[in-house]
């Protein structure tokens, strides 16, 4: 019953989660370590949220202040953009799309890991997802918010953005539904909205926990309003679970469709370098790749600082690294295939674009991308590296950089040398780095607030994958005192 490998773990809870268990004979590794009871899970997860506001650690305050400054700076930047127009960017005549779109595709791609974890892994009954899904879903929402602000700003005349939406008007004019740019508006907004509904639905039972444990009035009111009177009734769980399944079932194809439609923004045009049929699957793989890297970047420090190493263990980190390895390899394959098709098509414009991409003026960006995206994830073939927290963090960071450059390479290198040699121009950013920094400010500000006030682990879900959550668990059939030390060895593939 209890996993012998579990017994060999160090007692120090700050280390235990960082030790990989290698015991293929005794079955799969525990998803929750340290023989936690249901109540201990609640205590562990809510420790951060329930700390009185006055006792917020100084480092956390500093981080929030720093991110808030970035967010405020972003507001200032938007005002400046509003006042001056897109002339404050380095965009020039052939390069009409640059950092605005690069940032958009970068952020919307990051969101996809959250949906993959919450929806696709849910449908495939990958129980290890329960420890990381809340976190990843929050990341999705804030990333898509950052993405939508980029895409709303890229139009230049921001006050005309309402034309993108199907609003009735006196001219009887509707968006051009045949245009990929209109598809994009629908895709990104649907994505943001559905992610929010999914996230909120998952949060309600955990809000109820915070409400029931609240000691101060404002917490009771705040969490009480969010929990909407949830009382864990089985009559409610019946509807709840169905709704959750349906939201997951619809979000799963959204993972594929949203980035497919984002890739149509490029692929439906006739520009060499953009006009390729491989774009949809290539973009989706890249999105999941970058998203998992961002989950790692956020999760690795957080699990250490928030003391969640028993719930987010090396097993979870290793699984995510494996996904990074697979999608990174897919992305590498797509890069190679683009070159092969450019060569095999015999089209000289296509051929030129790709030669120019790797050996032209933007070769530095191209090779940064290749080394970060193709070479660095290959290190995850080594078990030592993919089970090492430090290595995971470093490599995830490289992937984040590489994926930003991928979008830069696709957007800018395809544009800067167009069919007319006299109009070739080298794009140099002017104020755009502030734009990117501002979106990071927005993202981290919201994310830190989320970590402080919302449960970062889906408690109800984690409890439901523990073995003692099953009413027919063998520990109950044998009777005896199973509460004191119920082995919390939820096996990764164990059935209900």
């Amino acid at each position: 019953m209890s996993n012998p490998a579990e017994a060999s773990l160090p007692n120090d809870p700050n280390v235990r989660g960082d030790v990989a268990l290698e015991d293929p004979v005794e079955g799969r590794e525990s998803l929750v370590r340290g023989n936690l009871s249901f109540h201990e899970i609640t205590e562990k997860v809510l420790a951060v949220n329930e700390k009185p506001v006055a006792q917020t650690p100084n480092a956390f305050k500093a981080a929030i202040a720093f991110a808030g400054l970035g967010f405020a700076g972003f507001g200032g930047y938007v005002g400046y953009l509003f006042w001056e127009g897109p002339g404050i960017w380095g965009n020039n005549n052939p390069v009409g799309w640059a950092w605005d779109i690069v940032n958009f595709v970068f952020w919307v791609g990051i969101g996809h890991a959250g949906t993959l974890i919450s929806a696709i892994l849910y449908l495939f009954r990958q129980k290890w997802r329960t420890s990381i899904n809340r976190y990843a879903e929050a990341m999705t929402i804030f990333a898509v918010l950052a993405a939508s602000s980029c895409v709303a700003l890229h139009t230049g005349r921001i006050w005309m953005d309402f034309y993108l939406f199907p609003l009735p008007n006196q001219m009887g004019l509707w968006p051009n539904f045949r245009s990929p740019l209109a598809w994009d508006v629908f895709a990104v907004n649907t994505y943001l909205f559905v992610s929010l509904l999914f996230w909120f639905t998952g949060l309600v039972p955990d809000f109820a926990t915070l409400r029931d444990r609240a000691k101060v009035r404002w917490r009771q009111l705040f969490y009480g309003a969010l929990a909407m009177g949830w009382r864990g009734s089985t009559r409610h769980w019946v509807h709840y679970e169905k709704a959750y399944q349906i939201l997951a079932a619809f979000s799963a194809p959204l993972v594929l469709s949203v980035h497919t439609i984002v890739s149509f923004d490029f692929a439906v045009s006739q520009l060499p370098g953009w006009h390729t049929t491989i774009f949809p699957p290539y973009f989706v793989a890249g999105a999941i790749f970058s998203g998992f890297a961002m989950v790692q970047t956020l999760m690795l420090p957080a699990r250490a600082w928030l003391g969640l190493k028993d719930i987010v263990t090396v097993k979870h980190i290793e699984n995510m690294n494996k996904i990074i390895l697979v999608t990174g390899t897919l992305v590498g394959y797509a890069y190679a295939m683009e070159y092969f098709v450019a060569f095999y098509s015999g089209n000289e414009y296509e051929g030129f674009t790709f030669i120019n991409r790797s050996f032209g003026p933007y070769a530095w960006a191209y090779w940064t991308m290749v080394s970060c995206n193709v070479i660095s994830p290959q290190l995850f073939w080594f078990k030592r590296i993919r089970t090492s927290v430090t290595w995971s963090f470093i490599l995830a960071f490289f992937v984040n950089i590489g994926m930003w450059f991928e979008r830069f390479v696709i957007t800018v290198t395809s544009l800067h040398r167009d069919a007319l040699v006299s109009s070739w121009e080298y794009f140099v950013p002017v104020t755009e780095p502030l734009f990117l920094a501002g979106t990071f400010g927005l993202f981290f500000f919201l994310f830190l607030l989320f970590v402080r006030f919302f449960p970062v682990i889906a408690m109800a879900e984690v409890k439901s994958v523990m073995p003692q959550a099953n009413p027919h668990w063998e520990g109950y059939e044998h009777g005896g005192d199973h509460h004191a030390n119920a082995p919390a060895a939820a096996t990764a593939g164990g059935s209900h």
Binding site: S37, F38, H39, T42, P166, G172, L173, W174, N176, F177, R178, S179, F186, A187, T190, F193, V194, L197, F200, T201, P205, A208, T209, R211, D212, M228, G229, W230, R231, G232, S233, T234, R235, H236, W237, V238, H239, Y240, E241, K242, A243, I246, L247, F250, S251, P253, S257, I261, A460, E461, K463, S464, Q468, A469, N470, P471, H472, W473, Y476, H483
Partner: protein, 182 residues
């Protein structure tokens, strides 16, 4: 005893259990006794507890199917109507009714209408938001969202009898039983 006397002032009985196994067995017993106005509350969905309670499957998927299909049909029609009739214009050499180009928006609206319906019907079918419930008066019930499991039987159930129902709950292994004021 008249019906009026039989119906006490209390809202119902609240019994506490310590683990999923205990509440599962208890629910089977209460179900077999023929109670109807009763409920169980758990910190997480206990697998199979709906069957142990004798609950019917949720109607929610059918509602989602109906609204999703309506939203889907509407959006396909609307794109055709807007592009082909309201402001007919050839763009990019595509015909007025260019089905492949309508697929992305058609698809997104199908997803959006289905998801919004699933979200809303979940709360509507459950009667939430509901700021108050008699069980919230109980101090013990605060643990329902943490690690304790509860059964409540309402006094309006025709089979409810304060003593007999209490004895039934006792026999299912409840650790504490309390009366809930309405």
């Amino acid at each position: 005893m008249t019906a009026l006397e039989k119906t006490p002032r209390i809202w119902g009985l609240l019994a506490q259990y310590e683990d999923p196994h205990a509440i599962y067995k208890a629910c089977e017993k209460v179900r077999d006794e023929g109670y109807e106005a009763w409920d169980s509350c758990t910190p997480f969905p206990v697998h199979g507890l709906d069957k142990a309670m004798g609950l019917k499957p949720s109607r929610l998927p059918w509602i989602v199917l109906c609204v999703g299909l309506t939203g889907s049909t509407f959006m396909l029609w609307f794109q055709t109507f807007a592009m082909g009739n309201l402001y007919p214009m050839i763009v990019g050499g595509k015909p007025l009714f260019s089905l492949p180009a309508f697929v992305p928006v058609w698809y997104e609206i199908t997803v959006l209408s289905s998801c919004v319906t699933a979200f809303l019907s979940n709360w509507i079918l459950s009667g939430l938001p509901a700021p108050h419930h008699p069980a919230f008066n109980s101090k013990a019930f605060e643990r329902v969202t943490d690690d304790k499991f509860f059964i409540m039987i309402e006094s309006q159930d025709p089979k409810f009898d304060l003593e007999k129902t209490r004895a039934l709950l006792q026999s299912t292994g409840a650790t504490t039983i309390e009366e809930l004021a309405s």
